[in-house]
């Protein structure tokens, strides 16, 4: 009897989460249908115009899709430079020591800082640095936003990858050492390949976080509705255009914003799917 009840409870809980997801997708598609109906799906995502003036009203998502992918992937690149060494430090060189748990918890602290605080820090500390470096005159743009994003996602990437690295079986590594391999060679040929799928998954998770981040990016990217041409350029992301313009919008504009929300959902889903495929492929190899 108890067992049956527990089973039912599990079933209901899982089903309601599924229903909730389906409901969100349904609401997004419903809200976005006006925009997709007006401009067409491909027309909407390949148009870089964002003109809210009533006489020439026209909306397209391309600028924001490019801005989102640009900042997220650049952030991932910077993040890689810091989080992989941290992961190796914690999961390989100083595995299980006090210093590794200290470094690990400090990096973990970064994950607990609210994004608005990152935004403020970027606004007051990083932006003057960007101006000092001569990247652009006002310090706003893809570069500044990506750096802050990179710092935000470092803990996600590093803590998971160091977990996976520390899970590499010791007998494999010891075997390699006994054959005369150096530490670098062990990392290169044993640790990284064995932990590879897990490390990739942790970076995908970090990328997902970077794609959807709103507040810190809005404060630093410049919020200009154009396709960014380089790191020094200002731009806008999908999450930040929604946050900025949702308040006063209605009609086709509101529908376009919801459509952008749906696209962000789709992009995140595609990236998760790719991650799954990579993990599957690598664990088979």
């Amino acid at each position: 009897m108890k067992d049956k009840l527990f089973k039912l409870l599990l079933f209901v809980a899982s089903a309601s989460v599924l229903l909730l997801t389906a409901g969100i997708i349904y609401a997004l598609i419903g809200g976005a249908s006006q925009a997709f109906g007006e401009y067409g799906f491909w027309g909407f995502i390949t148009n870089s115009e964002w003109d809210p003036r009533s006489a020439t009203e026209e909306y397209g998502a391309l600028s924001f899709i490019v801005g989102t992918l640009f900042t997220a992937f650049f952030a991932l690149l910077i993040c890689l430079l810091f989080s992989l060494p941290v992961a190796l430090f914690n999961g390989e060189y100083f595995k299980g020591t006090k210093i590794s748990s200290f470094v690990g918890s400090i990096v973990g602290l970064l994950a607990g800082i609210p994004s608005i605080v990152y935004g403020l820090w970027g606004f007051y500390m990083l932006r003057p640095l960007t101006i000092e470096l001569g990247i652009n005159a006002q310090g706003f743009g893809i570069f500044t936003a990506s750096i802050v994003l990179a710092i935000m996602i470092i803990p996600y990437a590093s803590s998971l990858s160091s977990e996976f690295l520390s899970m590499v079986p010791n007998n494999l590594k010891e075997g390699a050492y006994s054959l005369g391999a150096t530490r670098i060679e062990v990392i290169q040929h044993i640790s990284l390949p064995v932990a590879g799928s897990g490390i990739v998954a942790s970076y995908i998770l970090a990328l997902g976080r970077a794609l959807g981040e709103t507040m810190a990016v809005t404060m630093l990217i410049g919020n200009t509705n154009n396709i960014p041409k380089g790191l020094a350029d200002t731009g806008n992301t999908m999450a930040s255009i929604i946050a900025n313009q949702f308040g006063e919008s209605d009609g086709i504009k509101l529908s376009s914003l919801i459509a952008i929300g749906l696209l962000l959902f789709i992009i995140t889903a595609i990236i998760n799917l790719i991650a799954k495929l990579i993990v599957k492929h690598m664990s088979r190899a």
Binding site: E49, W50, D51, P52, R53, S54, A55, T56, F123, Y124, R127, A137, Q138, G139, F140, T218, G222, N223, T224, N225, T234, A243, N244, Q245, G247, E248, S249, D250
Partner: protein, 367 residues
Amino acid sequence: MKRILLFSFIVLVLGSCGKKNFSPNGNIVISGAGATFPYPFYNIVFRNYMKQNQATTVNYGAIGSGGGIRSLRDRSVDFGASDAFLSEKELKSMEAEVIHIATCMGGVVMAYKLSNVDSLRLNGDLIADIFMGKILRWNDARIAQENPNVNLPDLEITPVYRSDGSGTTFNFSEYLCSVNDDWNRDMGKGKALKWSAGIAAKGNPGVAGIVQQTEGAIGYIGSEYALTLKLPTAKLRNKAGNYVAATLETISSAANIDLPDDMRITLTNSADPNAYPISVLTWILVYKDQQYGNRTKKDAYDLVDLLSYMLTPEGQRVAAQINFAPLSTQALMKTKKLISEIHYGGKVLFPAKLDEVSLTTDSLTIN
């Protein structure tokens, strides 16, 4: 058990219906909705009114001008509030004749950050070209021509605009449309525009924050916000050719001109010699004939009493204290007449307070 719960739920739902104009004391409730711009003023002036009239509760929802007009149209509120007057088409779409009661004024100021520049003069053409990306540096010959005694730096100009839809953007662009043909053709006016230069931030605080932190930045900000923050702002050349700083006096002066009887007028680029050129009125909208629905004459009288109170020196002083510009004498007199014309099925409603609406507001402005 289940049945008892369901039953009590139904009782609760039924119990909460059917009480229109519910208030803690069961007394008169005046409800309004609309513009967000005058909300700080309305908030305080309504609170003061409620202190003096314990039997009355005034509710105001700052849901945006469009929402205020819609709410008045379907008569879910006693008054609407809007930063833009109703067009002829909108007036015709209302249930009955609607009148515009001006309550206070505001402006849009040009805030800038240039460390060694204490005073800056601009005109509409310069602002338009800066925000269209046609003037790129502070030491441009055209800016220098307006500022002969100012040492302008060789620095890139960073225009800052609103990333969200805003009445401030509407007023700013409306002014530039009226003074600059290129702006009128390429940019137009609206709550949100398609910009070609500069960077954007959300809300007055967002724009002010970037301007304060960025050397060489210039942004447009609501006067009520900028004056409270005491940001450095540019003097603008008005229609009469004078360079005018944005203060409560100069904003009020924009309404020191011949105003139409219905008070539906755009005051940007006013002809008054002391006027600040980007000044605007904000209105409360009510039905001229208050006998509709199940309104009593008392409801109508209280509404008119409240409107009168806002125009008395006491009410207008509240506006000035929080950096909303009081109405000019001209505007007060026209508005007083409009309030006196509000009636209840032909019966006159003339609260004693309306007589207190004084002829001059000179003593009101405080900074």
